[in-house]
């Protein structure tokens, strides 16, 4: 007796693709490099933007690279200006559904503010690596499931 199987069980799933992005003028790249390595070790494909990207550049890379999640690192204090700009630019390019997460030195109230703007997760200092990896995997899956 034939049991119908969906395509998901025959074709290997595409690995989750993440854009790890530095936006603005801060050169602190320790955190993003650690996260990028951890995501890779967890089987994801990571595209690193390099330093000093503008919100326009980050959004364009996210679209060109067809990523499932954009992970922004920012430690300059300019998050309240630059992160909403990235969200706007993604929407402008029709990619407003790509989940955006942010990590860095973000005070609690600002984290709330960013979530209200549409950021899906804010990871403050001391967040466990596995929490970040799991959260990004979950966001990528829920987006694929919803598509």
């Amino acid at each position: 007796m034939n049991v119908p199987v969906g395509p998901a069980s025959t074709a290997p799933p595409r690995p989750i693709r993440v854009l790890a992005a530095k936006v603005g003028l801060d050169g602190h790249d320790r955190g993003i490099k650690v996260i990028a390595r951890a995501l890779r070790d967890a089987g994801m494909e990571v595209i690193y933007s390099g330093l000093f990207r503008t919100p326009e550049e980050v959004a364009a890379m996210a679209v060109d690279e067809d990523v499932d999640v954009v992970a922004i690192s920012i430690l300059s204090g300019a998050h309240n200006t630059l992160v909403p700009d990235v969200l706007d630019q993604l929407r402008r390019l029709g990619a407003g559904d790509v989940p955006v997460v942010v990590g860095g030195t973000i005070p609690w109230e600002d984290a709330e503010h960013l979530r209200r703007q549409g950021v899906r997760q804010v990871f403050g200092p001391g967040t466990d690596l596995s929490t970040i990896v799991d959260s990004i995997r979950e966001l990528a899956r829920s987006r694929t499931a919803g598509a």
Partner: protein
Amino acid sequence: MSEAGRAYPPGARLGKMLWRDGERIMGAMPARPEGERARDATTLSGLPLKGFYGPHDVADLDYERDLGDPGVYPFTRGIHPTMYRGRLWTMRQFAGFGTAEETNARFHYLLEHGQTGLSVAFDLPTLLGYDSDHPRARGEVGREGVAVDSLADMERLFEGIPLDRVSTSMTINGPAAILMAMYVVVGEKQGVPPEKLSGTLQNDILKEYIAQKEFIFPPEPSLKLVVDTIEFATRHMPRWNTVSISGYHIREAGSTAVQELAFTLADGLTYVEACLQRGLDIDSFAPRLSFFFNSHLDFFEEIAKFRAARRMWARFMRERYGARNPRSWMLRFHTQTAGCSLTAQQPEVNVVRVTLQALAAVLGGTQSLHTNALDEALSLPTAEAARLALRTQQVIAEESGVASVADPLGGSYFVEALTDEMERRAMEYIERIEAMGGVIAAIRKGFLQREIAEAAYRYQREVADGQRVVVGVNKYVIPSSEEKPVPILRIDPELERKQVERLQQVRRSRDERRVRQALEALGAAARRGDNVMPALIESVRAYATLGEMVDTLKAVYGVYTEEAIL
């Protein structure tokens, strides 16, 4: 090593454990005796540790050759014979935010509370050579430091602060020559000639490519600018520390203590070589080079690092470069406690971390010290948090008694053995870098950056696996509902608009023809390969902006882009 020299006979039983030469004899015992913890086997940076140390660990140590009294070559025990009895270290808290007025007020506040020197933090647009009205500056003005666009801002920044009596440290690298020119002109306006100005220009561009990543021009012209400032200050500013060769940022980027020591000294040697190539005499400039280290969590490892640094530098200067002035041999350094060790969780615990780190710096013989504030994992410090950080130093200096005797840990079997090990491992790195063709070649190959990223990842994995304890983060955690909110320094977004208006006001009120001529002369000097300091000073006097001066130099030198490699 003779048997008689051992602290304990081989195989002596101490309590439940079996030891030989201070090392646990594995095999004779279960792999990890009960009550022992894996992390005890190495320092934070991975140097192997024995259970205890004895005379056999320092059998090769020659007091005169390797230590010397404090104030005596090779200065392992400190650069002054009397150390802190003669004079306490300078308490120098790094500060800067918003516009020049806010920062000037913080400076006055810190001086009133007993701080003895100033240290300016500039905002990111300033560090990268953008004026506050540049599109790339949006949202960043005054956030991480004070915004300085022109001489007008520097005049406000130092209002009411006599530059002949207060020494100032400026954390600026890419545009360091420009900020030094501004400081000279502020002095001029206060009636203080350059020879009376004292302070420190960070001016260490090499560690920007390696770690901090706030660079503007490519490494070669950047190095040329560093030599220009050294040459100028050597002639005109005898009390000025021309470069603060910095391991701090290398460590914050995730390096080990050994890497911090090795890469910093390698950078220092690169500046020395470049100055010698310019034709400067080693003893004319070496006494004004200074250093800047991190003081991290592993108490004894940090002390060993500071002591090893002094000994290594003294030997390089005397033996490799033939320096004859004892001041050329002395490694003087500033210390800042490790910002990356601070936690956002239970932030009051940071005061304890900072105290231990500051104590290590003092026992390691620092010349000046910045203690971080408890709220710095989240934002720039509030005035109260900054005061508590300063009080921490004051307690160490005036209550603890540790300042009374120079190098109190000198002769400790453990500290001397660790100092030797630190030196040996750092020398191996320096030799590898030199074999690669030097620091710039190693930067271009990505070697230094990769070594640091590797160490950072290893550390983070150890934290994730619970091998490294971070109190309040991966152990002794409290629910976030029990966390007390910490007051945060808020930067008013209005300040950005105010700063931009001021800048435009400066542009409107200055003599445009004079500005244009000064910038043309600057470009011409840069193209000829002349020392650009005189042309920069003239441009500053004309109220040319930082961005205009940087753009003029970019047109000659080009810009540097880092390859985005993970």
